[in-house]
């Protein structure tokens, strides 16, 4: 569902404190250094303001967000920071109140819905598994945008489905009914479905939440392989910052509906970020893998304002 909660209403209050213009140039730097200027981002949002019909103020406001081509970008942030909302807009499933989303440099709104679905795959956080269909049936649905109204299944469809089933490692449950599978197997089946779409860009909303560790890793390994072997650009919302730091090439941390920091995990994941954004006192070490050891939850009674002092010296500390 909509990933936000009551503390959005505070957002406007600390909006100005959170966005020192001095820091903006500083923060934009990693974006540019990370993406070669002659190769624009696969997916970018510009001057976005995203809200829902039921809210007056936008839930997400974001000057610029980039999903660099050929990399895995993780969106992280606490509950209610607007990760899912932002992802939905980037996927063209939620029209922003203002701003543009560019896929391959062209606005996504100029594409038909089928055209978009051939270029960008999106797996939402919740999906209903209809009864009585097999994993294979489900994966074939991923071919929907590639088929005309009366077109039968083509050889290309068959190949794409077999490849997706293979990549997601669900060949052994191919003929099982989706409704009878465990949560982890279901998730892999759904991932196989978006893989069958054969898109160059794939956006996934918390695909590992509620899965056991084994299946979490299976999902992430599948995505990593897809990225390594075929250069698919991946944008993924992850709940677990430690997992995101290990898994992603590029990280965007959202706080109260605005990007707080972005860049390679090593630069983004710091003790300050955990304190400011996640309201957690934690130690962060790189050995060289990132290790995050949370100690205790910081008092959040007075909202985000109290952290301003700590953040006075800039959003990014040294990672140690």
């Amino acid at each position: 569902m909509v990933d936000r909660d009551a503390d959005h209403h505070d957002r406007d209050a600390d909006h100005h404190d959170r966005d020192p213009t001095a820091a903006a140039g500083d923060r934009a730097a990693p974006t540019r250094s990370h993406t070669a200027p002659d190769e624009p981002s696969a997916l970018a949002g510009v001057d976005l303001a995203i809200g829902y019909p039921s809210t007056d103020a936008p839930v997400v406001e974001c000057e610029r967000i980039d999903v660099p081509r050929g990399e895995i970008t993780a969106l992280v942030g606490p509950n209610g920071s607007g990760k899912s909302t932002l992802l939905k807009s980037l996927a063209g499933q939620l029209d922003p109140d203002a701003g543009r989303v560019l896929l391959d440099g062209r606005e996504i709104a100029t594409r038909s819905s089928k055209e978009l679905a051939r270029e960008l795959g999106h797996l939402s956080q919740e999906h209903d598994s209809p009864g009585g269909i097999t994993v294979e049936d489900l994966v074939y649905h991923g071919r929907y945008p590639h088929r005309g109204f009366f077109e039968a299944v083509s050889e290309a469809d068959r190949r794409a489905v077999d490849r997706a089933i293979d990549l997601a490692g669900v060949a052994h449950i191919r003929d099982r009914e989706v409704g009878d599978l465990s949560g982890g197997q279901k998730q892999l089946a759904w991932i196989a479905m978006v893989l069958a779409q054969e898109t160059d860009v794939l956006l996934l909303d918390e695909p590992t939440t509620f899965l056991d560790l084994h299946h979490q890793l299976r999902v992430l390994e599948t995505l990593r392989r897809l990225n390594d072997e075929e250069g698919v650009t991946i944008g993924i919302v992850l709940h677990d910052i430690a997992q995101a730091a290990r898994f992603a090439d590029y990280l965007v941390a959202l706080s109260d509906g605005e990007p707080y920091d972005w860049g390679p995990p090593r630069e983004v994941v710091t003790e300050e970020l955990l304190a400011d954004v996640f309201r957690v006192d934690a130690s962060v070490r790189y050995t060289p893998d990132p290790e995050i050891a949370p100690r205790y939850a910081l008092d959040d009674g007075s909202g985000g304002g109290e952290s301003d002092g700590e953040r006075g010296d800039g959003p990014r500390g040294t990672g140690r």
């Binding site: 499933q93 939402s124 999906h127 109204f149 068959r158 077999d162 779409q197």
Partner: protein
């Protein structure tokens, strides 16, 4: 790419995904069973009645070469005298009346068309129900939960009680009333888009209000005849239908069923949930509206000839789903055979029960029988199935 794995898996997948790979033994058996029940009902319907004949006589009348071997006679039945003459005369085929035996006359003029209307109504209602269950993603959906039956019923009562002069337009008015009520429900449920839950809630509320108005109108009905006519229409009856009704219903039923079959794949994707469907490139609102339109067309085609027959649109998709599974390509085909079977069997019961049991020529509205048979069957399904409630 894992090219080597592809080839081995491709071969296995290939055999299963031929163009009509989804047609299997279960589906064929289900359809044959439906066809069998329909034919048995046909046999019973043409044999029994006030003018009773033996089964072999009845079949001889049904297959009478005087009709089948004579395009003039056959098309006059099917198309009506005027249209048949317009079609046949340029071709030089005679449409002159042919002397038919009494049995053939009764079977072809009275009993056969009634069965045909039953087939059309059963097919249209069950396809309509199947669409609504997918569009609203609700097991309880039927053409009539979304306001159609109450709208049609209200239109019927208004016509009979208040605008008696328009009674000859009743089929049209009933169908328009149903479609109008659905449009109202859709408009109420629309809030920058619809949602299955809002559609069902709006349907229930509109039905309740219109139902109250219907009951109020009964108070103003002048005489028992009007009340009985109103009841026959609002419970659904095939009493007295003939070729005229076949001609009214046939084109719309064929059209809507054809569109429904073509839309089966869209329905399958819609069942994955709105968000997934939309991510896959389905224009969800447009498809939902278009398919609802098809379902309304099918429901209206049946209301216009038989009134509001309850339960068929609810139960037949369940029966079919229970046997052939949730794939809408299979489900639609299953409905096309199971719907006519239920409808014609129910009508045979409605027409003949009193006649055979008490030797009285009273006929029940078929809708009463579908309710009496369908209700308990639905409960049986509900009790025996673990997974009922998951579409």
């Amino acid at each position: 790419m894992a090219a080597d794995a592809d080839t081995s898996l491709g071969a296995a997948g290939g055999t299963r995904r031929a163009r009509f790979g989804w047609i299997d033994g279960t589906l064929v058996a289900f359809c044959l069973a439906g066809l069998g029940v329909t034919l048995a009902s046909l046999l019973v319907q043409v044999s029994f009645g006030t003018y009773t004949m033996t089964v072999s006589e009845a079949w001889r009348a049904v297959l009478d070469p005087a009709v089948w071997g004579n395009p003039g006679v056959f098309l006059t039945f099917l198309l009506g005298e005027g249209l048949a003459r317009a079609v046949l005369e340029p071709l030089g085929v005679s449409t002159a009346p042919v002397e038919l035996s009494t049995a053939t006359n009764i079977v072809w003029n009275v009993r056969l068309p009634r069965v045909l209307v039953g087939v059309l109504v059963g097919a249209a209602l069950s396809v309509s129900g199947a669409i609504f269950q997918a569009v609203t993603r609700n097991e309880l959906a039927s053409p009539f939960i979304l306001g159609v039956s109450s709208g049609a019923g209200l239109a019927i009562l208004l016509t009979l009680v208040v605008f008696g002069g328009l009674a000859y337009l009743l089929p049209l008015i009933a169908a328009a009333g149903g479609a109008g009520a659905f449009a109202l429900v859709y408009a109420i449920a629309w809030k920058g888009g619809t949602s299955p839950v809002r559609l069902v809630l709006a349907g229930v509320i509109v039905s309740t209000v219109f139902g109250s108005l219907q009951t109020a109108l009964f108070f103003f009905a002048g005489d028992v005849g009007v009340v009985q006519q109103a009841i026959a229409w609002t419970t659904g009856s095939l009493t007295g239908v003939g070729w005229e009704q076949v001609r009214v219903s046939l084109p719309w039923t064929v059209l809507s069923v054809g569109l429904a079959l073509a839309g089966a794949r869209q329905l399958n994707v819609l069942l994955l949930g709105e968000r997934t469907a939309s991510s896959l490139g389905v224009a969800v609102e447009r498809i939902r509206f278009a398919l609802s339109g098809v379902a309304i067309l099918a429901a209206a085609a049946s209301i216009a000839v038989a009134g509001v027959v309850s339960f068929v649109g609810l139960i037949v998709p369940h029966m079919a789903r229970n046997v052939v599974g949730g794939d809408y390509r299979r489900l639609m085909v299953g409905c096309l055979f199971a719907g006519p079977a239920l409808m014609t069997a129910a009508d045979a019961g409605a027409r003949l029960f009193f006649e055979l049991a008490f030797n009285q020529p009273t006929q029940l509205p078929a809708g009463i029988v579908t309710g009496l048979v369908g209700g308990p069957y639905f409960l049986y399904l509900m009790r025996s199935q673990q997974r009922m409630g998951e579409l």
